[in-house]
């Protein structure tokens, strides 16, 4: 790719970027959020069309107008959000849209799929329906789909974001096999350890510009980070000593059963203390979401109690309350949910409108006050360095990190006594992540009870004072953040009580 430029409105997503991809190599494309990695690859795979620049495949200039053109040239891309039909089987999804042969022959296709799986070491049942599959299996279907269409250049957009460590290992094995088979593979990522582990070369983008290409064996995490961020950052997270620790919320015997009758939380008991960060670790889907939503009054609870202690020593049980009742009691509970645009914010509303979500009821009268949320939006944008064209931009137009800053900024602005956060730094680049860690530490020092549900154990161990480990909806253990080891927490995550 030579001199590729692409603009969206006034935003330059790619500015004169040139990169090379070779057969039989794995290339990592590294960059912060909004650095133009995905845009660049979307142009290679025919989703976007460059404003200017040239793409050469095997030395010949090609014009790629559509994903179909791209596939004809052997370029296949696996997107972050899978594009599969849930009610169809793996085979049906893979052959969907293909016109091959005279007869529609699913059996032959399934056989061909098995051959591909055996060749590269995929673990896939071609007859299985998509809705029965785990995320990693769905991803496998997407990759096999591209191989079935004879893709020689495979692009994976943040493939490991949704995978467990074990699944990631398996994916990497498959990728190595594909590399042996002379395929060119591009991985879009911002996880440094994975770059080091899997790729041969790494190309780094920053703010749409090409920064440099490194041979992975000759570099290290610090060097890559510096190039990616544009200046040196320290990779340590502060952990101020907790002060004035007092139980704020005491949860005992909490049981939650979801709509399908599946128990999500079983006999969960622990306390959340003010002036401290409580980390919650667990394999995804172990009940983290239900736990936080129970506290926030959004989850139907079967049994158990959630006791909240206010400043004057009064005690409230939050079970059976909704967010409106909790708010009316004067309990200031902030919640940064996992689903930012679907739950925490309204994507089509502007920054001011989103700030209003928490404050629109304030003041008497029938009309809303736009002045206060407008000022708050202005303050959040300035303090957290939110990158936005203006306060009247719909938040869905912002990049992931900036969306999160808006959400966290609003939640902190209400001076909470409890701050619940779910995957607060998921999908955020290093710089934004540190802004978020800092904010949480500041809240902790103010005496707020902070809950941090996280997936990166390194971060949890550096940030949290105590770590609650969930396993299959039960409390597997509570460990001290300062003394616990990654191994210890890992064991608690996979087996109850950490016993093998």
């Amino acid at each position: 790719m030579r001199g590729i430029t692409k603009t969206f409105g006034k935003v330059v997503a790619n500015d004169n970027v040139s990169i090379d991809i070779y057969k039989g190599e794995i290339l990592s494309l590294l960059g912060e959020n909004g650095s133009g990695k995905t845009t660049l690859m979307n142009m290679l795979s025919g989703i976007y069309y460059p404003d200017s620049g040239h793409i050469y495949i095997n030395g010949k200039e090609e014009l790629i107008h559509s994903p179909k053109d791209a596939l004809a040239l052997g370029i296949g891309m696996v997107h972050q959000h899978f594009k599969l039909v849930d009610v169809m089987t793996a085979t049906e999804n893979i052959v969907l849209g293909l016109k091959e042969g005279k007869k529609f022959d699913l059996k032959a296709a399934a056989k061909k799929i098995r051959e591909i799986c055996d060749k590269y070491g995929f673990d896939l049942d071609p007859e299985q329906k998509i809705y029965d599959m785990s995320v990693s299996e769905k991803q496998t279907v997407e990759i096999v789909k591209m191989l079935y269409r004879k893709a020689d250049i495979l692009i994976l957009d943040e493939p490991t974001a949704v995978l467990t460590p074990q699944e990631t290992e398996k994916l990497f094995d498959v990728l190595r096999n594909m590399k042996q088979d002379d395929k060119a593979i591009i991985i879009i990522t911002h996880k440094l350890n994975e770059v080091l582990e899997i790729s041969d070369y790494v190309d780094i983008l920053n703010k749409g510009k090409f920064i440099g290409s490194l041979k992975t064996s000759d570099t290290n995490a610090q060097e890559m980070t510096d190039m990616m961020v544009g200046h040196a950052v320290k990779l340590n997270i502060d952990r101020p000593e907790p002060k004035n620790v007092k139980p704020k919320i005491e949860i005992s015997g909490l049981n939650v059963i979801d709509e399908d009758g599946i128990p999500k939380l079983q006999d969960v008991s622990f306390s959340i203390n003010s002036g401290e960060i409580l980390g919650i670790a667990g394999i995804s889907g172990s009940g983290q979401k239900e736990l936080l939503e129970s506290i926030a009054g959004l989850q139907k609870i079967q049994s158990g109690s959630i006791k909240y202690h206010d400043e004057k020593g009064k005690e409230y049980d939050l079970v059976g309350m909704n967010p409106e009742i909790i708010r009316k009691l004067g309990i200031s509970l902030s919640f940064v949910p996992e689903d930012r645009l679907g739950m925490g914010l309204v994507g089509n509303m502007d920054l001011t409108g989103n700030m209003m979500l928490r404050s629109f009821r304030k003041g008497g009268g029938l009309f809303t006050n736009r002045k206060i949320p407008h000022d708050l939006a202005d303050e959040v944008v300035k303090e957290l360095a939110v990158d936005t064209p203006g306060l009247s931009t719909p938040v869905r137009r912002l990049s992931g990190g900036n969306v999160q800053k808006v959400l966290v900024g609003r939640e902190i602005a209400s001076n909470p006594s409890v701050l619940l956060t779910a995957y607060a730094v998921r999908g955020l680049d290093i710089n934004s992540s540190y802004v978020i860690y800092d904010l949480m530490n500041k809240q902790k020092e103010k005496g707020v009870a902070v809950v941090y549900v996280g997936e990166d154990l390194d971060v949890l161990l550096q940030l949290a004072d105590r770590i609650l480990v969930l396993c299959g909806g039960k409390v597997s253990g509570i460990v001290d953040g300062k003394t616990a080891t990654k191994n210890e927490v890992g064991l608690l995550m996979t087996s109850l009580g950490g016993k093998e």
Binding site: R2, G3, F8, G9, K10, V11, Y49, P50, D51, S52, G53, H54, K60, E61, E62, L63, H65, A296, G297, L298, N322, P323, E324, I325, I326, R327, F335, P337, D339, G342, M343, G344, L345, V346, G347, N348, M349, G353, M356, L357, R358, F360, R361, L366, F367, T368, P389, R397
Partner: protein, 364 residues
């Protein structure tokens, strides 16, 4: 290809990040002009009539006389009122296509009050009772689908559509009961001698009151949607119910409240039709305007002031179309063709407001 550098068509489509309002209006104005030119070409090609003559006739349909102008204003106001009723529900993503039935039930309630109380109650009281009955009836027609949506998540599109038929059939039933003279199958003018329950006319302008009500309602709905807490809540519910629950907005309550408002405004429209202008009831009194209003609301993107323009356009065209049909001896379908061409261009131009077409720049 002979290894020459390939070139594309050089054009591709790009989504606009934002567009200034005057540019957007400019695009719409161009679309309107183009549609008129196409109308002229089609007219000439199909009928050999002078396009200018046809255009002029369309214009005369609404502006030939004072009477025509006021009829046009009356129809515009009624259409606008129903469209305004649709707007909050649509903003909430509640696809209310029951405007027709909500208007009809308002008409029925008004007629019932006028017929039953007209003889023994003072005029002012009859009007007041009719008004309340019409608004309540319309509100109930909005309430029923809203409750079912809130409680059991039923499909509001089908539900409101069915409610239309219920309302129209009820009207048909009562028209037979009230028919006068007997055997005519019509209700005739209600209280023709006493004028009981008739809305007063302002000066000599029979339709001015409807216009004033529509204008006031436009301002009210604009403020309601843009500045009120209710308006904000319904916008949040429309965008994401999960977000609404997360901030403690009761989704069911908002759905019910908004639909009652929507139905009540339709009921009011029915009241204006029966007590204000027509003084009778037929099953076609709403005349499909409950559905046309959906189009009017959408074309204006639920902006009340925009709806003044879109409802004017639709009314103007249909008046003009009728005029063309009668004075050129063409049938009504021809005017429908012209209306469709204009609507096609006006809706189609939204594409150019959302996207722009860019020529590929040469690489340096």
């Amino acid at each position: 290809m002979k290894n020459k550098t390939k070139r594309g068509f050089g054009l591709h489509i790009v989504k606009r990040a934002s567009i200034s309002w005057y540019k957007a209006m400019g695009i719409r104005a161009v679309a309107l002009l183009v549609s008129i030119v196409v109308c002229a070409i089609v007219t000439w090609a199909l009928t050999r009539q002078s396009p200018m003559g046809v255009m002029q006739t369309i214009f005369l349909g609404s502006f030939a006389s004072q009477r025509r102008f006021w009829v046009m204003m009356q129809d515009l106001s009624v259409l606008l009122l129903i469209s305004l009723a649709m707007a909050p529900a649509f903003r909430m993503r509640f696809w209310n296509i029951g405007g027709e039935g909500q208007v009809m039930i308002g008409c029925l309630a008004t007629a019932a009050c006028m017929i039953n109380f007209g003889k023994n109650l003072p005029n002012g009281l009859v009007i007041l009772i009719s008004l309340i009955a019409a608004v309540v009836a319309g509100g109930i027609w909005g309430l029923v689908p809203a409750i079912c949506k809130a409680k059991w998540n039923t499909n509001e599109t089908l539900f409101t559509l069915m409610m239309n038929y219920v309302a129209i059939q009820l009207c048909a039933y009562f028209i037979i009961i009230w028919e006068s003279p007997k055997g005519s199958g019509k209700v005739g003018i209600i209280n023709q001698k006493t004028h009981a329950g008739w809305l007063p006319t302002i000066g000599k302008y029979k339709y001015l009151l409807t216009v004033i009500v529509a204008a006031a309602m436009t301002v009210y709905i604009f403020c309601y949607m843009k500045y009120s807490k209710h308006g904000y809540e319904l916008a949040v519910v429309g965008e994401s119910q999960k977000t609404a629950k997360y901030v403690g907005i009761s989704v069911g309550k908002v759905i019910v409240r908004t639909m009652v408002l929507s139905g009540a405004i339709c009921g009011l429209t029915g009241f204006m039709l029966v007590a204000g202008s027509d003084h009778t009831i037929t099953t076609t009194l709403a005349g499909g305007r409950g559905f046309t209003a959906v189009l009017v609301a959408w074309m204006a993107k639920f902006n009340p002031f925009g709806m003044i323009f879109t409802s004017f356009l639709i009314t103007f065209m249909s008046k003009g179309a009728g005029e063309v049909a009668s004075s050129f001896n063409l049938n009504e379908s021809f005017s429908d063709i012209l209306t469709s061409i204009i609507i096609f261009f006006l809706i189609g131009c939204e594409f150019f407001i959302q996207y722009r077409i860019v020529r590929q720049k040469e690489a340096k």
